[in-house]
C-alpha cells in the first residue's frame, strides 16, 4: 500500500531581487510504501532538508503534489496544517527541539495535549518510556539529560500520537557514535513493528540501517539503493560506493 507519494515536487526560493531565484528542488518523484524505512542522502545544499520540510508541511512547495494517505498536503489550508501535523506526522530533529521549560513527561505529552487527546495518556507514555528506556527520566528536565537521552525523549514525543509517518531530520547528527547507534537501533525496532520512517541524513552509517536509500542531487532523486538481502556491513559499503560515484566522496 502506498503511504506517501511525491510527484513533480519543485521548490524555488526567491532572492531579494526579483529575477534571482534559487531552485532547491527541481523535480522530485518517489513513493513510500507503508512500513518502509527510507533514508534520503545528499550533499549539503542538495535540497534534502527542503524536501523533508515540504513533506513535514513546514514549507510549501512551489509546484507538485505530496500525497499522504491519498490526501494532498499541498492543498491543506493554513488552519488545518497544524492539526494535520500533530495528528499524522511525528518529528525527530537533529537538535532534539525539546522544550526547556517542561519536564520529560510533559515534553512527551505535548502533542497529545495540543491535539486534546489526553485520554489514557499515561498508559501510552509508560509503554513508550519502557521501550525507549527512559522510565527514570520522566521527571527530569531536558537540560539534565545527555544528547542520546534527549533524542530518545524526542522519539517518544514523535511516536505518542501513533503518526502515519515518522520524519527524521539528521536524527543522529548531534550524537556520538555510541548514542547514534542506539538511536538507529530504536528506529529499526519501531520499523520492524511496522512504523513507517523517513529520515534525511548525510551519514552513510545511519543510512545503512534503512531498507532503502534515496540519493538527491541537483534537486532530483538521482539514484536509489534497496537493501535487499544485504547485511549492514554490505549495505554500508554499497552506500559508500554510491556516494563516491555520485558526489566524488565529498560527503
Amino acid at each position: 500500500m502506498t503511504l506517501l507519494k511525491v510527484e513533480h515536487l519543485k521548490k524555488e526560493y526567491r532572492g531579494k531581487f526579483k529575477n534571482n531565484t534559487v531552485t532547491a528542488l527541481a523535480d522530485v518523484n518517489f513513493e513510500v510504501e507503508a512500513g518502509e524505512f527510507i533514508a534520503i542522502m545528499g550533499e549539503s545544499g542538495s535540497g534534502k532538508s527542503t524536501l523533508l520540510n515540504c513533506i513535514a508541511t513546514l514549507d510549501k512547495p512551489t509546484t507538485g503534489t505530496i500525497m499522504l494517505n491519498d490526501e494532498d498536503l499541498t492543498n491543506l489550508s493554513d488552519k488545518t496544517l497544524a492539526s494535520y501535523r500533530r495528528d499524522h506526522l511525528g518529528f525527530v530533529f537533529q537538535d532534539f527541539n525539546l522544550l526547556d521549560t517542561m519536564s520529560v513527561r510533559d515534553n512527551i505529552y505535548l502533542p497529545l495535549v495540543l491535539a486534546k487527546r489526553t485520554k489514557d495518556k499515561s498508559e501510552k507514555l509508560h509503554r513508550l518510556a519502557e521501550q525507549l528506556g527512559i522510565q527514570d527520566l520522566l521527571n527530569k528536565y531536558p537540560y539534565e539529560l545527555s544528547g542520546g537521552q534527549m533524542q530518545r525523549v524526542a522519539i517518544g514525543r514523535a511516536l505518542i500520537t501513533n503518526p502515519d509517518i515518522l520524519l527524521g531530520d539528521e536524527p543522529t547528527g548531534a550524537l556520538d557514535s555510541k548514542n547514534a547507534a542506539e538511536i538507529l537501533s530504536l528506529f529499526r525496532k519501531y520499523n520492524e513493528s511496522n512504523q513507517t520512517i523517513l529520515m534525511v541524513t548525510h551519514s552513510a552509517l545511519a543510512a545503512s540501517c534503512a531498507k532503502r536509500v534515496l540519493f538527491i542531487k541537483d534537486g532530483m532523486v538521482f539514484h536509489q539503493i534497496y537493501r535487499g538481502n544485504r547485511n549492514d556491513q554490505e549495505m554500508l559499503i554499497t552506500i559508500n560506493d554510491a556516494t563516491t560515484n555520485l558526489f566524488g566522496g565529498a560527503m
Binding site: 493554513d78 500533530r86 518529528f91 527541539n97 526547556d100 521549560t101
Partner: protein, 654 residues
Amino acid sequence: MLYWKLAWQSIVKNKLEYLPFMLAGTAAVALNLVIQLLIYSKGVQTLRASSSVIELLMFGQVVIGLLSVIFLLYTYSFLNKRKQSEFGLFSILGMQKRDLIKISWRQQLINYMIVTVIGLVTGVLFSKLLLLLFIKLVGGNNFQLNIALGAIIFVMIFFALGFMLLLLSDIWVVWRLKTISLLQASQKGEREPKSHWLLFGLGILLLAWGYYISLTVDSPLKAMTMFFLAVIMVVIATYLLFIVASTIVLKTMKGHTNYYYQTDHFITVSNMLFRMRQNATGLASISLLTTMALVVIVTTVSMLVGQQDYVNKQFPRDIIMTNVANKSISENKVKQAAADNDVALSKMYHMEISNPITGYLTSSGHAMPLSGTAVTRADNLSDFLFMTIQQFNQLTNQHCETLAANEVYAYDRQGTFKNNTIKFLNQSYHVKKHLSKIDGVPSMQASMTHSMIIVIPSKTVTDKIGSAFNDLGENKQSISYTNQLLFDIKGSDKQKDKFLKTFKGEQNITVDSKSETMSVLKSFYGGFFFIGLIFSISFIMATGLIIYYKQISEGRSDKKQFDILQKVGMSHSEVKRTVKSQVVWVFGLPIVVAIAHLCFAMPMMIKILQLFGVTVGPVVYTTMGLTIAGVVLIYFGIYLKTSKTYFKQVARKY
C-alpha cells in the same frame, strides 16, 4: 570615520533596544525642560505666591531630575547584553579596548544629540499647553511663556552629565570584557523554582498585617505614625509574594492534571513558572511604582478638591478679626471703616473662645498637665478649647440649652473621644452630649494634635483649672479667652484691600481673609497637584513601556520555543491565545496588585488627609475610579500592542 560608522550602525542594528531608551530619554528631556520653562515663565513669576510656587517647582525638578537619570540608566541596561556581545565580536576581530571606547563615546554623543534635540522640541511644544494648565490650577492670570535660554542650557548640561554616566558604564563593560566568555556563552537551562512555603506564609502575614493596620487605624495621628510601618510591611510582602507565591500558585495549577493538561493552560503555566523567576522582582517593583503613582494622584486630587471645603471650614465668614487681648472688637468701629471704604458687611457675629491648652488625655478621660514622664506617646497629647454654653447657644441659635455645674458638651474634631466623663485635674464632668459639629466655629489650622472643644456651663470651670496646665517647657498656661468678629464682605478687591489695611496698625487685632488664604492654598495645592499629575502620568506610561519592551525582548528569546511548538503541531490561533494569556499576566498582575494596595491604603490615607483638613468626599472616590480606569486603559492599550508584536515575532509562516 570608521568609528562613527560603526557607532551609527550598531544603533541602527539594535533599534529595538535603542528605541525605548531614546524614548525614555526624550521624554525625560522634555519633562525637565517643561519644569524649567515654568520656573522661568512670566506667568509663574507674577503669581501672588510666586516664591512658594517656584520652590515647589524646584522640588519637582529635583525629583523628576533624579527619576530621569534612574530611568535612563534602567532603559539603557536593556542594551547592555547586546553591547557586550557586539564589543566581544569587535575585540575578536582585533579591536583594542581603546578602540571600543572610541566607538562608545561616539555612540553616546549620537544618542545625546538625538535625545536632546527631539526632547527640547517636544518640551517647548508641550510647555505651552502645560503652562496653561499650571497657571489655571494655581489660580494665576498671566499665561505668558518665554523660552528662556537658561532653561535650555540647564537641561542640556544636566543630560550631558547623564550621558556621561552612561559612557562610564560603557567603559566599565569594556574594561571587564572577556572575549572568551563570549565565545562560551551558551544558553544554560534553568532549574524549576522551588516552593518556599515559609516565605509564602511570611508574605501573607505581612500583607494581612499591613492591610489590617490600615483598616483598623482609628485616629489620624495614629495613621500618620502607622502609615510608614504599614507601607514597609506591604512593600516587603509584595516582593515576597511576587517571588514566592507566583511559584506556589503555578505549581498548584500544575499539580491539578485535569487543569494543567489542557492546551490553553499547558504552555502558559509551564512558561510562567520559569518566567516569574526572572521577572518577579521587576513585576513587584512595577506594582509598587504603579501603586505610588495612584496614591499620588488620589492624594493630590483630594487636596485640590478639598481645599475649598477646608478653607470654608476655617472661615465661616469672609473675614475673621481676632482680638487676642480678650476685649470685644467694636462693631461700630468696623462698620464705620466699612462705610468709609464703600464695602458692605453682612452676617456679622461675635465669638468668644478660649486659647488652647495642651494636656495629656488618658483613655479613661482624665486630662492632666504635661510632665516629662506622662508624655510617652504623641497621640495622647490633646488640645482643649473652652466655650461657654451661652456662646454656644448664640452660635447655634438655640437659646434653651442649659448645662448644670458639672456637665459639659464635648466636641472632638477627630471624633475619637467617646467617654461619658471627662476629668480636669480632680474635677469630673459628665459629658451630657457628644457634639458632631459646632456651627460657626472656625476650624483650626491643620495640625498633628488631637483637639477638642469643651462647652462649659460658665467660666468658673476654666477659672478652676487656672494655670495648672503647663506646656512642655514647664511654662504655665493660663486659660485666656479671645474675641473674634466674623463677617462677610462685599466690594471690589481694591476697596476690600483698603478696608482691611485700616486695621493693620490696631493693637492686638489680627485680620484673616478667606480669599487671601484661598489664593495661597490654591497656588500650593494646585502646584502640588500639577507636579503629582505629571509625575504619575509619565510614571505609568514609562512602566507600561518598560513592560512592553521587556516582553518584546523576551519574545525574541522565546522564538525558538514557539518554533518547536508549531513544528509539533500548534496552530496559529493557539499560539495567539498562549501569547495573550502569557502577556496578560505580566500586565494584569501589577495593576491588580496596585489597585488592591490602593483600596486598602484608602482608609489610612483618608485619615491622614483629615489631618491636613481635607475631608474625603465622593469627588475623591470618583477621581480614584477614573484614575484606575485610566491606568487600566493605558495598560490595556500597551498590552494589545505587546501581544500583537510578540505574536508576530514568534509565529511561523506555515
